[in-house]
């Protein structure tokens, strides 16, 4: 039996294949199936502060506004004190998942304000989460905000959350930082226990007939793994924080590559959504088989073996490779 164990966010996991944050995480039945398929931890979908606020203010603007305005109808909805526009439903879910499974439960949070990040992080911890993934889903559209300011905000939030909660925190990043290695180091210093590479954004498409932007989210494709491999390899071995790959890992082979690049855990989403929770067990078997075929003793032996530090051909991850390809290009 191949030893696939790994350590992520301080948790000793029997293998690195963790179901990533996805709609599967809303369904208790699915979560149980994931656990049955061998999931070593469960990452829940994100609590979006912005959504909670929009719901709350929307309620004020579209429901409360009609109250006490006409003699025949002082209100239009049942007086539902339980209709709480807040994080309660999410927190309840965290609690229920925690009770239902025996593996670590990792909550996920997308905040908008510093106060929001802090408050919700604490609430998710108190609801029973074993760790927290901070989902920095942020598209920098403000031309007045510099990259340094964006990064500083991120660092500040991580530092504050670290000083507020006791559970480990992972930071899920997008690849759109100009100096990602530097940022990773600063996050590491700020106390982040893990980095998750990378967030995938909704990609607005354009409808040329309706002249409208159409938000779309396609499931990841294995091609997308390459970007993750590069950055895992670059960061591997240089940080205290553990690393996770997310986006494009669909198979045992993909997982193996990510681990070799330096991932301590590999998050799967698209393949599970397409094939069902049981796909996880299959990928795990594949991973085990692939290591065995290559005569590895354990996963640990492969972990980070192809990082920038250890890779026999580090140029591949750097600019040199680009140059080389250009130079070898021949017109056919």
């Amino acid at each position: 039996m191949m030893d696939l164990s790994t350590t992520y966010l301080g948790f000793r996991l029997p293998h690195p294949l963790v179901p990533g944050a996805s709609p599967l995480g809303w369904d208790l039945e699915m979560i149980r199936r994931l656990e049955d398929a061998g999931a070593p931890a469960i990452i829940l979908p994100s609590l979006f502060e912005e959504q909670i606020e929009a719901d709350a203010l929307g309620t004020m603007h579209h429901m409360d506004v009609h109250e006490h305005a006409h003699a025949e109808a002082l209100s239009y909805f049942p007086l539902a004190d339980d209709f709480v526009m807040g994080p309660d439903r999410y927190l309840e879910h965290v609690h229920r998942v925690k009770t239902a499974v025996s593996v670590p439960v990792i909550g996920s949070l997308n905040g908008t304000s510093v106060a929001g990040w802090l408050a919700y992080a604490r609430l998710i911890q108190d609801a029973g989460a074993d760790a927290l993934e901070l989902n920095f889903y942020h598209v920098a559209t403000d031309p007045h905000e510099s990259s340094a300011e964006v990064e500083q905000r991120l660092i500040d939030i991580v530092a504050s959350i670290k000083s507020t909660v006791r559970i480990p925190i992972a930071v899920k990043l997008s690849p759109f930082f100009s100096s990602l290695a530097h940022l990773a180091r600063r996050l590491d210093l700020a106390g982040a226990d893990g980095l998750v590479l990378f967030n995938r954004f909704y990609q607005p498409d354009i409808d040329p007939d309706a002249l409208s932007a159409v938000p779309r989210l396609h499931l990841s494709h294995p091609d997308e793994l390459l970007l993750r491999l590069r950055w895992l390899a670059i960061l591997s071995g240089r940080l205290r924080a553990s690393l996770a790959a997310t986006g494009g890992a669909h198979s045992g082979l993909d997982a193996l590559k990510a681990v070799m690049a330096g991932a301590h855990s590999v998050q799967m989403v698209a393949a599970l959504l397409i094939n069902g929770p049981e796909h996880l067990a299959l990928a795990r078997r594949d991973l085990s088989r692939l290591l065995k075929e290559r005569e590895y003793e354990s996963l640990a032996q492969a972990q980070g073996s192809m990082s920038l530090e250890r890779c026999p051909d580090p140029d591949a991850f750097e600019r040199g490779n680009y140059m080389k390809i250009l130079q070898t290009w021949r017109v056919r």
């Binding site: 909670i52 606020e53 719901d55 709350a56 203010l57 929307g58 309620t59 004020m60 603007h61 579209h62 429901m63 409360d64 506004v65 009609h66 109250e67 006490h68 305005a69 006409h70 003699a71 025949e72 109808a73 002082l74 209100s75 239009y76 909805f77 049942p78 007086l79 539902a80 004190d81 339980d82 209709f83 709480v84 526009m85 807040g86 439903r89 408050a119 002249l211 409208s212």
Partner: protein, 1177 residues
């Protein structure tokens, strides 16, 4: 358990007792009683128990008749049961009341006394409904204040259980039911002490049971019925004793002593007023004042009206009385006197010892004010040498001269009380904030507090006026404040519309929300307002509350900001203490809405004081501007004399002679009321426009219109008037115009949302865009007037497609419906298509309120003076009412045709003319126009013919032109209360068209579930999400095979909607159109109403189809599906609306199940329709 002081309205005060002392509560919503049922349902749904530890079962029925039936059954089977109702609802319960009384079943019904609809409907309060129940034999107990309503709810239950006589506990609708007041609450122990187990055991033992079977409801014959009817005499006779006993036991518990008749006043009074209801309080305060001035006056407050205890009455009445005025809050035309008067006269006669002069007086119909000044006038009249018999007070009766003259300067306001009047907008949250303030003052300070709220008749841009009193002594003033020491105007524009400053008493504080720099506010005031401020030496404070609201994330909600200002400058509470209380109240009220709302409110509180400025008032008026007249000088005489006064809040001053004797009201009055409520209005970019006319179609208020005109007609147009060449062949060479009515638009933005024409270089810019109204108002007003004067399109040339129909003049315009209303576009379309030969029977509900609520109404006429004839009968009978209209139109047409044939056959009318008139095809506009022309010819021929048949035909000749009868109403009517009648009319085969405006909930009464409410939606009485599927009314109607049925959604497929209207009209039998109507009760921004309609259709939530029996004759399936297979899942549609999201949020697992079931049902239903559509006859 010690008693606590609570601040509640009358409805809550009663429900607090009724819910704790009953097991079964069956209700049906009706204003103003709905609150009691809603609270009971809410409490039961939260598991709140009655005093015996059981959670009462609350059921909403399909009508008040149904509620009474359910209560009757529950009582027979041995449960403690109650119901709440008013007005027409009470009338529907009368048959059961006779039964329940006849069977001597203990039961208390709580009634918010409300006007019965006669010449007009009124939602307001008087005793005409309860008085209609006198012959049932039910005991009638009247409470006069919020505290008494609470107390009597308990006393009534105790007396009915002790006596077996059912009790109707009634209190004044709105004045008591909606007055917020500080009262001492009864504890569970109090209630238990009042309701001994032995009485409940007796009830149980009488219950119908197969274990000891009885028979109730036999049919009795002449031999025994009479005797059996007399058998219960002793029980009725004993009731007053039981009632007094209950009152005495209550007094022993609480210290509040009531009697069957309570006399207050001089022990040797010579003049006495006898009265029941909230007015008794007013009389009492006047009596105290007059007695203190040495006058021998008194008031006899009637508590138990029936059974009328002559003995108790005589012992309460001072023997010294010489003149009595009996005040009735009802009118019984033709009676010798109104009911209380007659009983008093009979009682005096029966007793025989006293022989005072007895006058009957009528007051307060439909919540007409009853003030100390009016009471004073009554006492003065009693002292007159020749007093008026059967007088009225509170109105000016210049027709029969019955009204008393009132000295308006007589006032009894407490000098140490704060009297505050607030003018707000429905949407700005003023009333909610004031209710909060009353709670703060009533529950957190030793002060007594009272709040009463006056609402506008409009649903959009509605004005609210809050009347608040606070003081160290109990407040006994059930009437509006006339002069206030604090006046707040939360909307700057109101200063020019209403006499806000007329409420200022000398030295009062005046708080004004005014836009912009505070130092510039004085110059923006009219001369009248400046003068009033100077004269009263008011202390004026100004804030730009909208600015603060915007900055703190509150949007248009200025309630918290204005509340802070009130506490900061009124001096009711120390400022810091007030702010702490406000914040606590915010936390209590809004924490359920989420922290974001709480924080936004806190930010608003904190930001307010820095923006509040005291205005330096100059010593002299500097303005020359006077407010514009309420209506244009061009308005007709009636509008000038009557409507304008009503619009200026001066309707109370109109004399009797101003009104028609039968309630008939002129059409086309809304156009004279220029409300100017939109902050932004659409602006047309003619160059971008693709001339689709969709904006005109979707506008709920007919405030954006399309026209074509010849270039010559546009000569002399105003400078900013826009037009472009028409793009189609049918009006080639003409100019095309889209024009907004700037002062009638509500700013809902539906037109902008539907506009498909985007600027290719900057798609954010469309052919319609919202821009601030104020800078555009004057120019667009002129443009709109010019537009209206342009000739209308020739109806005979208009094609039947969606675009062309929008060139037809709407004869339903500028209604008071909500901004973005989903119902009114259908009605507007109906009037465009058939308005000039249309009769509308309108069920009570939203459509009758925005269709017929004064002061102004939206149905109007075209240039020929033709337009819809509109009438509202009741809620429950609308289908039958419309059928009656059809029968009348058909009968008159038949008679006219018969007379025409007689005159033709006898040679008096040209045979060709007669035959063409008789055989005319009026199915097209051209055919209709030709027939109208023939009728004109015929009439000219008939005049002076001298034949009796000709005279009769002249009167009936217009019946020879076609009349369309449309029966219009909401889902509450069609699915629930009126369903029996609707079904019968569908089966009648008559040519009527039924338009159901389906909002899937009782919108008008505030969001109670109907059988149209879909599975999974939260509504009142289905707070956790309705667990049953929406009734498929269309499928039920299709089962007849002969009824035209369509399901439409104009926002999803407007062409299908228009087609359905046209096919329904063409079908010679009954037609039913069920129209998807988005509504504020769905809980989202109605600007997205059209998108939601599209989603509803796409996801299979609302499949579109037309079922036309005429297709069967052609060998085709009657059913044609107009929408495709469901796509995307119902959840996609549902998650956008709060009514579903509430359930998802509160009960996620339940929601999942309901959604899955709804999804499966929608799929199955669609497959069924598909199968039907495939089936050939």
């Amino acid at each position: 358990m010690s008693r606590s002081w609570i601040t509640v309205d009358g409805n809550e005060a009663v429900a607090l007792v009724a819910h704790r002392t009953n097991e079964v509560i069956a209700i049906y919503p009706i204003t103003p009683s709905s609150g009691m049922g809603e609270l009971s349902d809410e409490w039961s749904s939260k598991g709140k128990t009655n005093i015996w530890g059981q959670v009462p079962t609350v059921v909403e029925m399909q009508s008040e008749g149904g509620a009474a039936g359910a209560v009757h059954g529950a009582l027979q089977a041995g449960a403690l049961a109650t119901t709440f109702t008013a007005s027409q609802g009470l009338l529907l319960m009368i048959p059961n009341l006779y039964k329940i009384v006849g069977e001597l079943t203990p039961f208390t019904i709580h009634v918010t006394a409300r006007t019965i609809a006669t010449h007009a409907l009124s939602i307001f309060g008087d005793h005409s409904d309860v008085m209609a129940c006198r012959p049932t034999g039910i005991a009638m107990l009247s409470s006069h204040t919020v505290q008494e309503a609470h107390d009597f709810a308990c006393i009534a239950q105790a007396a009915t259980l002790a006596s077996r006589i059912p009790v109707m506990h009634f209190f004044d609708g709105f004045r008591t039911s909606h007055e917020v007041s500080r009262i001492e609450a009864l504890t569970d122990e109090d209630l238990r002490a009042m309701l001994p187990d032995s009485h409940i055991t007796a009830l149980r033992q009488r219950a119908l049971s197969p274990d000891h079977p009885d028979l109730r409801g036999t049919a009795q014959n002449p031999d025994v019925f009479f005797q059996a009817r007399e058998a219960a005499n002793l029980i009725h006779t004993a009731f007053p004793g039981h009632m007094q006993d209950a009152m005495d036991r209550f007094a022993a518990l609480t210290g509040r002593q009531y009697h069957l008749f309570d006399y207050v006043g001089h022990p040797e009074a010579e003049r006495v007023v006898i009265i029941m209801g909230s007015g008794a309080e007013t009389v009492e305060t006047v009596v105290e004042d007059l007695v203190s001035r040495g006058e021998r006056v008194g008031v006899l407050k009637v508590r138990l009206f029936r059974p009328f205890s002559v003995e108790a009455f005589m012992s309460a009445l001072p023997a010294t009385v010489q003149a009595i005025a009996v005040m009735d809050r009802t009118k019984e035309p033709g009676a010798i006197g109104d009911p209380l008067f007659l009983d008093v006269v009979a009682a005096l006669n029966e007793d025989g010892h006293l022989h005072p002069k007895v006058l009957g007086g009528r007051y307060g119909l439909a919540s007409k004010e009853f003030t100390p000044a009016m009471v004073k006038a009554v006492f003065d009249e009693l002292a007159a040498s020749k007093p008026k018999h059967h007088f009225t007070v509170g109105i000016i009766d210049d027709v029969t001269g019955l009204s008393l003259t009132v000295d308006e300067d007589y006032s009894l306001e407490q000098p140490d009380a704060v009297r505050a009047v607030f003018f707000g907008l429905g949407a700005d949250g003023t009333v909610g904030a004031n209710k909060n303030s009353i709670k703060i003052i009533g529950e957190d300070t030793p002060n007594f507090a009272q709040g009463y709220f006056v609402y506008d008749s409009k649903k959009s841009g509605a004005v609210t006026i809050s009347h608040l009193r606070f003081g160290p002594r109990p407040i006994r003033a059930p009437y509006l404040i006339r002069r206030a020491n604090f006046v707040a105007c939360h909307q700057f524009d109101f200063l020019d519309k209403y006499n806000v400053t007329g409420y200022l008493e000398p030295g009062a504080v005046f708080l004004l929300n005014a836009p912009g720099d505070a130092s510039l506010v004085w110059d923006q005031l009219s001369a009248d307002v400046q003068q009033a401020i100077i004269t009263t030496q008011a202390k004026v404070y100004v804030i730009d509350a909208y600015d603060v609201a915007r900055d703190t994330g509150m949007g248009n909600r200025i309630n918290t900001i204005m509340q802070v200002c009130f506490f900061a400058i009124s001096g009711v509470l120390p400022r810091d203490q007030a702010i702490t209380h406000i914040k606590e109240a915010i936390r209590k009220t809004y924490s359920k809405r989420g922290d974001a709302v709480v924080q936004a409110n806190f930010a608003a509180v904190d930001a307010t004081l820095a923006h509040l400025h005291r205005l330096e008032v100059p010593t002299a008026v500097t303005a020359t501007r006077r407010p514009a007249p309420v209506v244009s000088a061009d308005a007709p005489d009636f509008i000038q004399r009557v409507t304008a006064r009503m619009l200026a809040n001066e309707g109370d001053l109109l004399p009797v002679s101003a009104f028609p004797v039968d309630g008939t009201w002129p059409s086309g009055t809304a156009k004279w009321e220029k409300r100017s409520i939109a902050s932004e209005i659409p602006v047309w970019d003619a160059g971008l426009c693709i001339q689709c006319n969709k904006c005109a179609l979707v506008c709920p208020h007919a405030a954006i219109r399309a026209k074509v005109a010849t270039p010559a007609a546009l000569d002399g147009h105003p400078d900013t008037f826009k037009s472009i060449p028409y793009k189609g062949a049918e009006y080639s060479g003409m100019e095309y115009i889209i024009q907004v009515a700037p002062e009638d638009c509500t700013g809902c933005s539906l037109c902008v949302m539907v506009c498909p024409a985007k600027d290719k270089a900057n798609p954010k810019h469309k052919a319609l865009e919202l821009m601030p109204q104020r800078p555009l108002r004057d120019a667009e007003r002129e443009n709109y007037a010019f537009f209206l004067d342009l000739p209308e399109v020739d109806r005979t040339t208009v094609k039947t497609d969606i675009k062309s129909t929008q060139f037809l003049e709407p004869l339903f315009e500028y209604s008071g419906a909500c901004a973005g209303c989903g119902e009114t576009p259908y009605i507007k379309l109906l009037t465009q298509l058939y308005g000039d030969h249309l009769l509308i029977a309108n069920a009570t509900g939203c459509s009758s309120i925005y269709g017929g609520n004064l002061p102004t109404t939206p149905y109007t006429v075209n240039r020929d003076g033709r337009g819809p004839g509109w009438a509202n009968s009741l809620f429950e009978d609308n289908a039958e009412f419309g059928l009656g209209m059809r029968l009348a139109a058909d009968t008159q047409a038949d008679e006219a045709q018969r007379l025409l044939r007689v005159l033709r056959d006898t040679g008096w009318v040209d045979a060709e003319l007669a035959t063409t008139l008789l055989d005319a095809d009026q199915s097209t506009e051209a055919g209709l126009a030709a027939q109208r022309a023939r009728v004109v010819t015929l009439k000219a021929l008939l005049r002076g013919m001298g034949k009796p048949e000709a005279e009769r035909l002249l009167v009936l000749a217009d019946a020879l032109t076609k009349k369309s009868v449309w029966i219009v109403g909401g889902d509450g009517w069609a699915y629930d209360i009126g369903y029996g009648g609707l079904d019968h009319v569908l089966a009648s085969g008559r040519n009527v068209n039924i338009l159901v405006l389906d909002t899937e909930v009782y919108s008008n009464t505030g969001g109670q579930q109907s059988k149209a409410t879909p599975m999974g939606a939260s509504a009142k009485f289905a707070a956790s999400g309705k667990a049953t599927h929406k009734k498929d009314l269309a499928l039920m109607a299709m089962a007849y095979g002969s009824v035209y049925v369509a399901r439409v959604a104009f926002g999803a497929k407007d062409a299908q909607t228009v087609k359905a209207f046209q096919e329904a009209e063409a079908h010679t039998g009954p037609s039913l159109i069920i129209a998807f109507s988005h509504c504020i009760a769905h809980g989202y921004d109605l600007a997205h109403g059209l998108d939601q309609q599209k989603l509803a259709v796409e996801t299979g939530y609302w499949p579109l189809f037309r079922f036309d029996p005429n297709r069967v004759e052609k060998g085709e399936s009657a059913l044609v599906l107009d929408s495709g297979s469901p796509k995307g899942g119902l959840g996609t549609y549902m998650r956008n609306e709060s009514r579903f999201r509430m359930v998802e949020q509160m009960y996620p697992e339940r929601y999942k199940e309901l959604l899955a079931s709804a999804q499966q049902h929608a799929q199955g239903r669609f497959e069924l329709y598909e199968q039907m559509a495939r089936t050939r006859p």
